[in-house]
C-alpha cells in the first residue's frame, strides 16, 4: 500500500471511530423500552394501541425533561415487535429485543404465552419486564424482575362477580366460554372458583380457538343449557359480540358478562343491540364528567390512530413508563436490578389520575402488581357506563 493509501485508510478508520463514538455517546442517553405485542392478526388492535400509549407516555416524559439519574437526563424510546400472540413468535421477539436491540427494560408484553417466552430470558439476563399477562405463576419472589401493568382476574373477579350477583339475585346458573390458551385458562380457573363461592351453579365451562369466526354452533350449545348467565371470560370483545348476537337470534336474553372485556367498540361492531347490558371488568369509560381533559385528549388521539377507544391493557403500557421513571429516579440508577428493587416502594401518577404504587403480597407473595383501580362497566343504551370503581387496599 502506498503512503497516500495508508493515509486514506487511517483517515477512514478515524472517521468511523469518531462516528461510532458519537453514536454511542448519543445512544447512552436513551433508555430503550422493548415491547412484545401482537401487531398482526386479531390482537393487532391491542398491540397497536399499546405501542401508541408507550410512545405517548415517553413523549410526555421526554418533553418534561426526561429521567434524571445521577445528574444525567435520559430519554425513553419505545421499540415494539410483533409477537403474533404466540409463544413461538414471542420467543423470537424476546431474542431480538434482548440480544439484538440490547434492551434492558421491557415496557410491556401482551399475551400470556409470548410473555412467558420473554420472561424465560429477562429473568436470566437481568432485564426488568412489565407484562399484562395475568397468570399467578408469572410473578412472585421467584421472578423478582417481573411486574404486572394491568389488573388481572385475581384483582378484577372478586369485585365484578359479586357485583353481578348482587344486581341479579335471581340468577342461579351459568355457562362459561374462554379462549383455549394460557390467558383463557388462567381466567377460567379464577372465575370458576369465584362464581362457585358466590353460589352460582356452573352448567358448562368450554374453550374455543382464537380466530374462530363462526359462533353459531357455540350459541346453539349454550342455548341448549339455558343458563341465567353467560360469562365469556377472556374473549376478545369482537368475538364476544358475535356470540351474544347469535344467542339473541336464537332467543336467549339473560345476564351477559365478559369478565376481562376491554371495550365496547369491538363488542358493538359484531354484537349490535345484542350486547346491551353486558358487564365488563377491564374496560374504561370515557363518557361522563369525571373524565379529565388529559384522558379525553389521549383517547381521541388513540381513536384517530387505531380506530378504537383505549382499554386497560393499552393504558398499562402508559403507566409502565411513569412507573419506570419513578423507580429509576428513586434508585438513582438505570441498572434493571436496582430499579426492580426500588419499584415496589415508589408511587407514580397513573393514567387514571391517581398516585399509585404496587401491591400483591396476599396473592403473589411479593409486591409486583400495580395498585390500579378496579372498574366495573356496563353497556347501557349502546354506551359504556362506569358502574363501580374500587381502589384496592392491602399490601
Amino acid at each position: 500500500m502506498t503512503f497516500s493509501g495508508k493515509l486514506k485508510t487511517l483517515a477512514l478508520g478515524v472517521a468511523v471511530g469518531v462516528l461510532g463514538a458519537a453514536s454511542t455517546a448519543g445512544a447512552a442517553d436513551i433508555i430503550k423500552l422493548g415491547l412484545s405485542v401482537p401487531l398482526s392478526g386479531s390482537g393487532a388492535i391491542w398491540g397497536k394501541g399499546s405501542v401508541f400509549m408507550c410512545e405517548r407516555a415517553a413523549k410526555e416524559v421526554n418533553e418534561a425533561g426526561g429521567v434524571t439519574v445521577d445528574g444525567t437526563a435520559y430519554t425513553f424510546q419505545c421499540i415494539g415487535y410483533d409477537n403474533k400472540y404466540t409463544a413461538a413468535e414471542g420467543t423470537r421477539v424476546a431474542q431480538t429485543l434482548l440480544n439484538r436491540e440490547g434492551v434492558k427494560f421491557i415496557g410491556g408484553s401482551l399475551g400470556t404465552a409470548p410473555a412467558q417466552a420473554l420472561q424465560s430470558l429477562t429473568e436470566r439476563q437481568g432485564v426488568l419486564m412489565f407484562t399484562t399477562a395475568w397468570g399467578a405463576s408469572i410473578k412472585g419472589p421467584k421472578f423478582p424482575l417481573t411486574f404486572t401493568q394491568m389488573n388481572t382476574p385475581f384483582e378484577i373477579l372478586p369485585l365484578l362477580i359479586p357485583y353481578v350477583k348482587q344486581a341479579h339475585p335471581e340468577a342461579k346458573t351459568l355457562v362459561m366460554l374462554n379462549p383455549n390458551d394460557a390467558s383463557g385458562q388462567d381466567t377460567e380457573a379464577v372465575a370458576n372458583k369465584v362464581w362457585k363461592d358466590t353460589g352460582i351453579e356452573i352448567l358448562s365451562s368450554d374453550f374455543y380457538e382464537r380466530g374462530t369466526t363462526e359462533f353459531q354452533p357455540i350459541a346453539a350449545r349454550i342455548l341448549s343449557l339455558n343458563p341465567d348467565i353467560v360469562d365469556l371470560g377472556a374473549m376478545p370483545p369482537a368475538d364476544a359480540g358475535a356470540v351474544f348476537r347469535e344467542l339473541a337470534s336464537l332467543g336467549w336474553d339473560g345476564i351477559k358478562v365478559v369478565e376481562v372485556g376491554t371495550g365496547v367498540d369491538g363488542l358493538k361492531a359484531t354484537g349490535g343491540d345484542a350486547v346491551e347490558g353486558v358487564y365488563m371488568g377491564a374496560a374504561v369509560s370515557f363518557e361522563g364528567g369525571e373524565v379529565s381533559d388529559h384522558q379525553h385528549e389521549v383517547n381521541e388521539e388513540a381513536r384517530a390512530a387505531i380506530g378504537e377507544s383505549l382499554n386497560t391493557i393499552q393504558i398499562g403500557f402508559y403507566d409502565a413508563v411513569y412507573a419506570l421513571k419513578a423507580a429509576m429516579e428513586a434508585a438513582g440508577s438505570i441498572e434493571p436490578r436496582e430499579v426492580a428493587k426500588a419499584l415496589p416502594d415508589v408511587t407514580f401518577r397513573t393514567f387514571y389520575g391517581d398516585e399509585i404504587g404496587f401491591y400483591g403480597m396476599d396473592n403473589y407473595g411479593s409486591r409486583q402488581q400495580m395498585k390500579l383501580p378496579v372498574i366495573v362497566t356496563q353497556v347501557k343504551d349502546g354506551k359504556l357506563v362506569e358502574a363501580a370503581r374500587v381502589t384496592p387496599t392491602g399490601n
Partner: protein, 291 residues
Amino acid sequence: MQTAIQLIVTSLQIGAVYILFSLGLTLIFGVMRIVNFAHGHLFTISALMVAYSVPWLAGNGFPVLLAYLTGAAIGIAVALVIGFLIYVFGFRYFQRDMVGSFILSIGLVLLLDGVLLKLFGGAVRPVPEVLSGTVNILGATVTTQRLALCFAAVVITGMLYLALTRTRLGKALRAVSIDHEAAMLQGVPYNRMAMIGFMIAAGLAAVAGALIAPVSIVSPAIGADYLIKGFIAVIVGGLGSVPGAILGGLFVAAIETFGGFYFDPTAATIAIFVLVIVVLLVRPKGLLDNG
C-alpha cells in the same frame, strides 16, 4: 328432533360459505395445479370493502339494502382487480409449479397482511343489519340474513356447476384440469383458461367475502379461519374436484356444528383435523378423488 333440525340448518348455513370459498381453491388447483394461500385475502378485501362502504353509503342517505348491494359490488370489483394483478404479475409465471407458487403465495400473504393492516387498521368493522328478523324452519330458528346468504350461495354454486358441465368454457376448463397437454392439442388455449379459472376463483372468494360481511367479524384477519377450513374441505373432498369441494365444505361444517354442540368447540376443531388425517390415510386423493 328440534335440536337435530337446528344443528342441520346451522351446518348448511356455515357450509354454504365454506363451499363458495373452497370452490375457488379447488378451481385454481384443478386448472393451474397451484395452491393459492392468498385466496383468503381476496375474500378479506371484499369483506373489508363492504364493511367500510356500507356504513358510509347508509350514512349518506342510501337505503341499507341498496348500500349493501353497492358495497358488495365495490368489494367484488376491488377484489377482482387485485386478483387480476396477482395473476398477471405473479401466478402467470408459476403455473403448474408447486414450489414456486407456494413461495409466491406465502410472500403475497405477508405483503397483503401488512398492506391491509396499514390501510384498514386492526379494528373490527361493523356492518349494519341488512335484512332484519328471523325465520322458523321446522322449529329451527334462522336469521333472515343467514337464510339469504345460504340461498345466494346455493344459487351461485348451482350456476357454477351448470357452467362447468354444460358450457363450452366449462368443458374447456375441465379438459385443462384433467390433462392440459391433451386439451391444448385439441385447441384449448391453456393460458387463457388458466386466467379465466383464476379470475372465477377470485370472484367466488370475493362473493363469499361480500356475503359473510354482515354476519361475521370483519377485520383484516377474517380470511385466515376460512382459508384453513377451505383447504380442509378441498383435501377431504379431493383437490381439484368441484363436487368434492361441496361435499368437503358440508362435512367440515357438520363436524364443526355437531362436535361443538355435543362436546365443545375445541373438540370440534380437533375432530376436523383428525378427519383430514383419516381421509389422507384411507383415501389420499380425497373422498371423490382429484378432479
